[in-house]
């Protein structure tokens, strides 16, 4: 291999920077910049062809917002050097194939769109693009493969049409019509069971929450009836039409998408989140500022670009906010509204947002800081609208809304027009609106302190103000105090003294075993666990650190006491009795008890569904605990899975490499696991998977039991089963499926045969079927 000289490197770097920067703000026009760059590149084509090709193709897939700029550039180069144009096309097709193979779906889609736009620049013939698209449409029509795969191919083709629809219409109208006919057939036949599971709002009023392919299809249909004319995409090649139309066009090589493989993971379907229409936006200084309608292609194009900005800059929140607010067409649209709608669409995305929730929250804060004259008002208006429509909001989005809003308020001194929500103090506290207010204040409390929140809300909000998060120790240590008659006070008193005197764990355990006369074994154990847990956590109640230290220090005693699931549940119950006013404390304590393996995941699940927790069942923290428990289990399984796989692979690699002996030294020095070790790891993994499956079985069985009971009871009493409790409970069931779908998926068959059987009430079964449809 020849060494690249310094000079070559310098020139290549310069070319790269020139290509990357074209289209950025400049004193001269985009057209003259493109023309200049094309001449520079043409001169260097002989020497630096490969480098230039690579840069251009990289730009094509990674800078989709500059698609038309680069297609124009390639168009100009193609007029000067036909072979170079051909090599570009070949490399683009190869890049798209690679993206498909490595399941980089968005990159593949951008590559296809780029290729389509090259038709506009006379680099590729319209006929051969249609051929390629037809192959994609065939993939969409293929029977016997998952719908998510077929969806992707349909979506990829449809999303190119805003760029190339007009050209295809002019040159190949009948072929285009035929292709659209096939696509329409597919779109109409698709199964849409998943739609309800992915909606932010159950209701379509005031704004329809459309399935993403349905929506794009409507937008394309509208574009088609507008004769494929759209005014949004900047098309620099139009200025060069006279030059470009002289060029010879290339035909695309034949490309058939690779067949489906069961291990391939396709993108999940989505629902288009809508919260605004033009009536929500104030009239601008001129009537040209208007929010495009839901089926206007502009709405799709702008949203896609805003999402792209978000994706590109999400790690630098200040830059992200600046880029969003300087969106090129900001003078033609109510930009703040579109940004806010896109942001909430991302926060509420089901099953999961692309980035962590605080990313969106912190970008919204920056947007408010950067545009203080408009952004905070639009955000407040959005909050009001979301609150107004909260009755039909999915439970998962309800949680995210609480979490975002409380976080946002904590950055703005908790200022809000709380009085406006006063009327909800009088309604059933289980209804979504009062519940939202109450839970928001509870979350605010976690980011502030009790008095601050009490001072922030009006006096009429007494019913909403969170309780002071203090511990409630149920044993009286002084015989004259109330509560001294409770069984166990003596033991508690002894324990407190023992712990304060820092005596050994053995002695503590001896005190606990000091059996009072006449107690039954079972009750005794309950008493021991309760007294120990309450007393220890009470003594350590000063802070999280104190509590964690106590758990660490007394770990052996905890482990000895928590030897059965019953004992573990009793421990959790005792903790709850002590800390029920301090939700966050309970969350972190359960987390700690799980991490230290004092309690098992299944015990937590059974505890949350137990009779004693009925009053807490619809509170948000209960589900925070259950989800953290499931996540802990998932993490554990994933970790073991990776360990077992890695070990297995190492053993196999070693076997296959044993022939060629002089492999690099580093591998040899690595610890090679023995077959026995690998088997042990695999056994551990199997055991963990059995636990995981068991955990999901417990949770779903509990759900089925309480929901069925409720439905039967309502039926006998002749009342509507759709009360608030039902709303929350069915929503939480749906949430388990959604948030953990990747894990639950592994057990769908078991769930189908054991729990979600056909004789189940259709209301419950429906939730399961929606989940199955996600990857259908």
């Amino acid at each position: 291999k020849k060494r690249r000289t310094n000079e070559t490197v310098e020139i290549e770097d310069r070319l790269e920077s020139l290509i990357l920067r074209v289209g950025e703000k400049s004193t001269s026009s985009l057209e003259s910049n493109l023309e200049g760059l094309a001449s520079v590149l043409e001169a260097d084509l002989t020497t630096y062809k490969n480098k230039i090709l690579k840069i251009l193709v990289d730009c094509a897939v990674s800078l989709p917002d500059k698609c038309t700029i680069y297609t124009t550039l390639i168009g100009l180069l193609n007029t000067k050097n036909y072979n170079f144009g051909g090599e570009c096309v070949e490399l683009l097709i190869k890049s798209m194939k690679d993206s498909l193979k490595t399941v980089k779906w968005e990159q593949a889609r951008f590559a296809l769109r780029f290729i389509a736009d090259l038709v506009n620049c006379h680099v590729i013939s319209a006929g051969s693009l249609l051929q390629l698209m037809d192959n994609f449409v065939d993939a969409a029509l293929e029977e016997g493969v998952p719908q998510v795969r077929r969806d992707w191919f349909a979506y990829a083709v449809l999303s190119c049409l805003p760029w190339v629809g007009r050209e295809l219409y002019e040159k190949k109208e009948s072929e285009l019509d035929r292709m659209l006919g096939s696509l329409e057939g597919y779109i109409k036949r698709r199964n849409k069971t998943h739609h309800n599971a992915l909606r932010v709002f159950r209701s379509d009023t005031p704004h329809p929450q459309e399935e993403y392919l349905d929506c794009l299809w409507q937008q394309i249909k509208r574009l088609r009836s507008d004769m494929w004319v759209e005014k949004h995409i900047v098309r620099p090649y139009l200025a060069f039409d006279s030059v470009l139309c002289e060029a010879l066009q290339h035909n695309l090589p034949q490309m058939v998408p690779q067949p489906h493989h069961p291990s391939t993971i396709y993108p999940l379907p989505q629902v288009v989140f809508r919260m605004f229409d033009y009536t929500d936006c104030p009239e601008g200084p001129s009537s040209t500022i208007i929010l495009p309608g839901q089926h206007s292609i502009e709405r799709y194009l702008i949203e896609e670009q805003l999402r792209h900005i978000l994706k590109t800059y999400h790690k630098e929140r200040k830059e992200c906010a600046a880029q969003l607010l300087s969106y090129p067409l900001k003078n033609k649209i109510p930009l703040e509204y579109m940004i806010v709608e896109v942001m909430f669409g991302e926060i509420f995305r089901l099953p999961n947002p692309e980035f962590i929730e605080i990313a969106y929250g912190s970008i919204l804060i920056e947007l408010c800081k950067l545009q203080p004259s408009t952004m905070p008002q639009v955000l407040a208006q959005a909050t009001e609208l979301l609150f107004e429509r909260i009755d039909t909001m999915s439970v998962t989005c309800f949680d995210r809304f609480i979490s975002w809003f409380s976080y946002h308020l904590s950055n703005f001194q908790f200022r809000w027009s709380w009085e406006d929500w006063e009327e909800h103090t009088k309604t059933d506290p289980e209804m979504p609106k009062p519940k939202f207010i109450k839970e928001v204040l509870l979350k605010c409390l976690r980011l502030a302190y009790h008095q601050r929140i009490v001072d922030v809300v009006p006096e009429s909000f007494a019913a909403f103000a969170p309780e002071k998060p203090e511990a409630h120790f149920k044993f009286a240590l002084d015989p004259n105090e109330p509560g001294a008659e409770i069984n166990g006070c003596n033991l508690a008193f002894k324990l407190v003294n023992a712990i304060k005197q820092k005596i050994s764990q053995e002695e503590i355990q001896a005190i606990l075993s000091d059996i009072p006369e006449g107690e039954q074994d079972r009750e005794l154990n309950t008493l021991k666990v309760t007294v120990f847990t309450q007393t220890l956590l009470h003594l350590a109640s000063k802070s999280f650190s104190h509590s964690f230290a106590a758990i660490a220090k007394f770990h052996p005693t905890f482990k000895t006491l928590a030897d059965t699931e019953e004992a573990q549940i009793c421990m959790l119950r005792s903790m709850y009795e002590l800390w029920r006013k301090h939700h966050q404390m309970m969350v972190v304590l359960v987390d700690k008890l799980l991490k230290t393996q004092i309690v098992e995941c299944s015990a937590v699940a059974n505890w949350l569904f137990s009779k004693e927790m009925v009053g807490e069942f619809t509170k948000v923290y209960t589900w925070e605990i259950l989800h953290l428990t499931i996540r802990k289990m998932n993490k554990h399984v994933n970790k073991l899975n990776k360990e077992a796989n890695d070990a297995r692979k190492m053993v196999e690699d070693v076997e296959s490499e044993s022939e060629d002996s002089d492999n690099d030294q580093s591998r040899k020095t690595m610890e090679k696991p023995t077959e026995e070790q690998v088997e042990k790891l695999e056994e551990k993994l199997e055991a963990a998977q059995a636990d995981q499956k068991n955990l999901f079985l417990i949770i779903f069985q509990r759900f089925i039991m309480i929901l069925s009971e409720h439905l039967v009871r309502c039926d006998t009493d002749g009342v509507n089963f759709k009360n608030p409790w039902y709303h929350w409970t069915i929503g939480r069931l749906q949430q388990i499926f959604l948030l953990h779908h990747e894990q639950v998926e592994k057990y769908s068959t078991t769930l189908e045969t054991l729990l979600f059987t056909q004789d189940l009430d259709p209301n419950i079964l429906d939730v399961f079927q929606q989940f199955l449809a996600l990857r259908m």
């Binding site: 790690k315 962590i356 605080i358 990313a359 950055n411 980011l447 650190s545 966050q584 404390m585």
Partner: protein
Amino acid sequence: SRTEQERLLAQSCTLYVGNMSFYTTEEQLYELFGKCGDVKRIVMGLDKFKRTPCGFCFIEFYNRQDGEHAMAYINSTRLDDRIIRTDWDAGFVEGRQYGRG
């Protein structure tokens, strides 16, 4: 040495958080930083003489990436109405929690 320090910083999971209110509690920090990932440990900075919180702390995550999230999304935002600052820290060592505030 300096390179050693840089190496530690580049792989650290610990953040130094400064400019906090003296009244900010561990619980508030858990809530806010917990939004970026699983928090392993929080060590509150204490006044050398009075042993009371004095406006800084160390936050240790299990993963580097969670720390990166905190650097990206929490640095220079508000907690308890104060703009807090976060910085990578080479790792907490016993004794470093005592400062002047």
